[in-house]
Subunit: 206 residues, 3 copies
């Protein structure tokens, strides 16, 4: 087993930033996808898949580094937790893109586009916050803002849910839209879980 010491510190934080940057890239593609006409979405979904795959590779590197590290800059379980939740955010974003293409919906409701805008903001804030893990600095604003965005996203989600049942849509379209907005809501919940993990790590390490 190769051991890495102080050097490992910086490496883990670089990998967290890399994961967060994959998230930004992936959710930007999801934003393009929900705004695109139906026939242009499949190409964007494929690019989103590629980013999701890169994110998997980064997560894999974090696990390998963790297993090969004798000392770690944060508790081992916190490093796995952070890597895992970053991955969950990406997976739900990727799944949402998939479903939108699969269900071949025409123009999407404004609420779905609004959900993705919130996810974009969460991804950007996460990418900005990751470097703060090194010195546990400036993280408070991040988790407070993510929690605010998640509450707002939750309202959008509930309004959408009520809306699709009252819009006089055919049942199959309701099932499709419900599936998509629920998947986007799960992505948002994972961003909140990530912020909560960062918060508890910050409290512990401070």
């Amino acid at each position: 087993m190769g051991l890495s010491f102080k050097s490992s510190d910086s490496a883990f934080f670089d990998l967290f930033s890399q994961s967060a940057n994959h998230l930004v890239a992936g959710i930007d593609l999801l934003a393009k996808l929900v705004a695109a006409p139906r026939e242009e979405r499949a190409v964007l979904r494929d690019s989103l898949h590629e980013v999701e795959h890169e994110a998997d590779v980064t997560r894999h590197e974090i696990s390998k580094k963790l297993n090969a590290s004798f000392v770690t800059p944060l508790d081992r379980e916190d490093i796995s937790e952070l890597a895992g939740v970053l991955d969950d955010c990406m997976d739900y974003a990727d799944e949402a893109g998939d479903l939108i293409v699969l269900y071949q919906l025409e123009e999407l409701p404004a609420g779905i586009i609004e959900q993705v805008v919130q996810l974009q903001r969460c991804a950007e804030l996460t990418a900005e916050a990751m470097p703060g893990l090194r010195k546990m600095e400036g993280l408070r604003d991040y988790w407070v803002e993510i929690n605010r965005l998640e509450n707002y996203g939750d309202r959008i989600y509930r309004d959408m849910l009520a809306e699709i049942f009252e819009a006089g849509l055919d049942p199959l379209t309701v099932i499709k839209l419900k599936d998509i907005i629920e998947t986007l809501e799960k992505a948002m919940d994972k961003f909140e879980a990530l912020a909560n993990t960062v918060e508890s790590v910050a409290i512990k390490e401070s």
Copy 2:
């Protein structure tokens, strides 16, 4: 980091009891909500949200105390696990209340009311069991009874699921009811997960 020693023991158990008491209060509100006429449900949903928020605060206190404690009365991971699962029970109860209001259903099927009665019983048993964690006493009856209730709840859930598809309801109503009974079933599963966690802690500590 402020350290707390023996004092922390009693504090953790008090917080677990507090969480369980929030659960009792929350699920009593859910029981009132499912029995109430449609137009009176929103107010009860709001009170349920408030209790859910108080439960979040308690869970937060447990995490903060855990991060600030040098010695703990139970293994750290068991304390987080217990706090997390107590929170999950509350979240699903809260979500069920939300959906019932959101979907604006008229009178609810007897099966849903029956599911909530089982959840009430689980919450009461949990609140009665929490003090037993101090001395690991009298917990066996608790987890055996919760498992019995979960099996019974499972049968109610399956019967309901078959029923709503055979009742000749319109598809949108089926989707709404399926969503509600599944959320209540998830709450029940979390009570079982909680009982299983208590059991494994009890076995370990005895």
Copy 3:
């Protein structure tokens, strides 16, 4: 608390093999169930429940042994993780069998039968791989192949999902089929999670 030493090693690996063998037996019953005419499915569902119950017993033995063991052949959290994910695979297979009987569908789409064939292959590979945990030998082929099968299963799942919405089925049948194929997909995801856990344990222990 009874302590077990070196002896415990072999016992844990035997229990993992036992869990995997329950999985093989359970998913073979699921395969029979999906191929059987409607009226013969309930009996197979009952046998599947029995196997699922035996798997619960085995998982319980692993937890008890873990709590009673002073030294363990693998990290404690890895042992719980492996036991938990093996159990998840079984639970989703059991749930799928339940839903198929509950929803009283006539002949099932070929895609569902194909999903179960992939699950059978995963269960067999898992049972063959478990003994390799003792010496961490020959596990690489296992996790590579499971990941390949999961990717293939994912394609089957997506094709099915698109199909059921385009087949001109009534909405209630779409809801039922969607529920079943999603549950089978979750079982497949759990086999991948299991393979990933085995991989990270193997890397750590090597």
